[in-house]
Amino acid sequence: MSDLDAYRAKAQEFLKLHVAEYGAEARKTLSEEQDLELGRRWQALKYDAGYVGISWPKEWGGQGLSVLEKLAFDDEEMKHGFPTVYFSISLGMPVPMILRYGSGAWMQERVTRAMQGHEIWCQLFSEPAAGSDLAGLRLRAERDGDDWVLNGQKLWTSWAQYSDYGVIVTRTDPNVAKHKGLTYFWLDMRAPGIEVRPVKLTSGGAHVNEIFFDDVRISDDQRMGEVGGGFSVAMETLFIERYQALDSAGFGPPLDIFTDLVKTLTVEGVPAIKDGRIRQQIARNYAQRSALEAIGMRALRALADGKTPGPEGSLNKLVSVRSRQRLGELAIDMMGVAGVRRDNRNNGAGRTDWVESWLDAPTGRIAGGADEMLLNTIAEKILGLPQDYRPDKGVAFNEIK
């Protein structure tokens, strides 16, 4: 058994010990607030057991292991529906950025508290008019002595309603080209002038927020990177978690939940499994998922060998979420008139219930890059095709039409 296999086996043992108290079944009937509290306890427990910050440097309280150990643990943890969703962005992007840009005892305390789940960080990037085109953001930060004063609006910020701190990209100079006038800060989400309003999404859930900034004052000490260098710090944030556990189910239910459903159903008096149309979809989805999994495994092997995984890992999100949406439609259709029922609004139901997964699928397709942006990235970065026409290139931000 390799060291990694041994690590994985130990992790499985640890998770098995706690699944009854913290896993999917335990969470089912909890309210979101109760689930968050359970999540905080789970996070603290993992911290004590050395399963938080697995690949982070030891001086910050991490375990100093490689990304392979982290991916192995995540992979096992994901299988059992533990309540990690409230902390995944916090520990995935803002906190690692603090590890790079922050220092001092106070910051060390923040990192530790975030690792233990006591505090949560959010990421304030997108705005109503700046989604795919992040550099088009408008939230102003104006210099006032040693301070900056923030005015404007952010949107799509996940878990801001529970967040203690955040990282933010602001426009500090509208007179230069749009990528060049941005600056990056961290801030206290309890600062005066910040108002957080949850936004309901397709499935009815509201984990994202609209956030209004009205003369919010922060210190220049909170700046991360150069004035005007915010775009590259933002990009650094987005790419910091370069290797994540790929999910061939597109964050929806695994395929065996679909085949289990098929087995129980009759469609127009005939067992669903005998219908060629349904067989075709099972087969095609299986083939697609097995390919995505094979790509993921190959990437892991490359990492283990100290190589850089190929670019094909970037396909996962594009391919898997789109398919999950169509498969959800089919699952609901197969259930017949009763397919409209919404019997399972539990925490994490999107992972087990086709109706919930389907309701949420449009959000999944937008989150983390719309299909069009992913296709552009593949076409330009991997295949070397030209960038789209960009009339805003090199134009001062306040002169862009």
Binding site: S126, P128, A129, G131, S132, D133, G136, L155, W156, V199, K200, L201, T202, G204, L265, T266, V267, E268, G269, D275, R277, Q325, E329, I332, D333, M334, G336, V337, A338, G339, V340, R341, R342, D343, V355, W358, L359, P362, T363, R365, I366, A370, D371, E372, L375, D388, Y389, R390, P391, D392, K393, V395, I400, K401
Partner: protein, 317 residues
């Protein structure tokens, strides 16, 4: 406005118009994602009574349905079958016994046409839902404005309209006529989404230009236009074939095109709207949900594909 009696005879207070006019009204409803399902469900119940009920029963119900005073619905499907040839809902000397799952509009309807079993034969029957022997359990669904409920009958009084194979044919015809009207509703929904996408693409800017200038957005909208026009063409064509040979095939084709157009519209138009599209504020989630409730209520695509193929193969013989 008389919308509740468009296709009913003037004698009963209706307007004596055709499926074509009924379709126009349904299309307008679809454009606005009108909440309540009663217009169409009452249409189907009244339409079935008008074709298959005795003069007395018509006299009792049609004026009330035509005026909108009473609400009707149909309950043919059971778990695993859109039109069960041997329904579990049974009718005997003691009345109607059993249930029908997730019946649209059943939360408020006063009368339902049901497909049941009597003496081993399928029957189409009419049942007053306001009697105490009928229980309705309102369901939590992803489109709650459809007022879907599970119906239970505990020796409920009912009247048989048609028996035997003819009952299945009657149900098929009622469903097909409803499918044509619903295809108009779906077309209206898809068209409304198309227009929203077009307008948004002309207004929303990214990278210094309106997003409608990007071919990925532009062509997606053009493809959707094609689906909407195909759906509309089939819906109108089917309505114009009312009462003629080839109607069933045309109705099935209309339903398939309509389901596809509305599904693609919801998927693509939300996507085109980006983040805004997935918020409740944009209201597109109402269309998303409606695509599936309409796709389910009178049988999913596979049912209509099979019906259409059977009709085509019959013609071809």
């Amino acid at each position: 406005q008389g919308w509740t009696g468009i296709t009913l005879p003037e004698y009963y207070g209706g307007l004596d118009l055709s499926l074509v006019e009924m379709g126009l009204v349904a299309e307008a409803c679809g454009r606005n994602v009108v909440g309540a399902p009663f217009l169409l469900s009452s249409f189907a119940a009244a339409d079935g009574l008008n074709q298959f009920a005795s003069p007395e029963l018509k006299e009792t119900w049609l004026p009330r349905l035509a005026s909108g005073e009473a609400i009707g619905t149909i309950a043919f499907a059971e778990t695993g079958a859109t039109l069960p040839s041997t329904p579990t809902l049974s009718f005997s000397g003691n009345g109607l016994k059993g249930g029908k799952p997730a019946v649209s509009a059943a939360g408020h309807a006063d009368i339902a046409l049901v497909l049941a079993e009597r003496d081993g034969q399928p029957i189409l029957a009419c049942v007053d839902l306001t009697q105490t022997a009928v229980t309705r359990d309102l369901l939590d669904t992803f489109d709650n404005s459809r007022c879907a409920a599970d119906l239970s009958f505990d020796n409920a009084e009912a009247t048989t309209l048609v028996s035997g194979e003819a009952a299945l044919r009657a149900c098929t015809l009622i469903l097909a006529r409803l499918a044509v009207v619903m295809a108009h509703e779906q077309t209206g929904g898809a068209e409304a989404l198309l227009i929203k996408a077009r307008d948004y693409a002309l207004e929303r800017r990214a990278f210094g230009q309106v997003i409608g200038a990007f071919q990925s957005v532009k062509h997606r909208i053009a493809e959707l236009y094609a689906l909407v026009e195909l759906s509309r063409a089939n819906a109108i064509h089917a309505a114009s074939l009312e009462g003629q040979s080839g109607f069933l095939a045309a109705a099935a084709a209309a339903r398939l095109s309509a389901i596809e157009a509305y599904d693609v519209a919801a998927r693509d138009v939300i996507q085109i709207h980006g983040g805004i599209g997935v918020t409740w504020e944009a209201g597109l989630h109402l269309h998303q949900r409606r695509t599936r409730s309409l796709a389910l209520e009178i049988g999913a695509s596979t049912f209509w594909e099979d019906l259409l193929v059977d009709e085509i193969m019959k013609e071809a013989v």
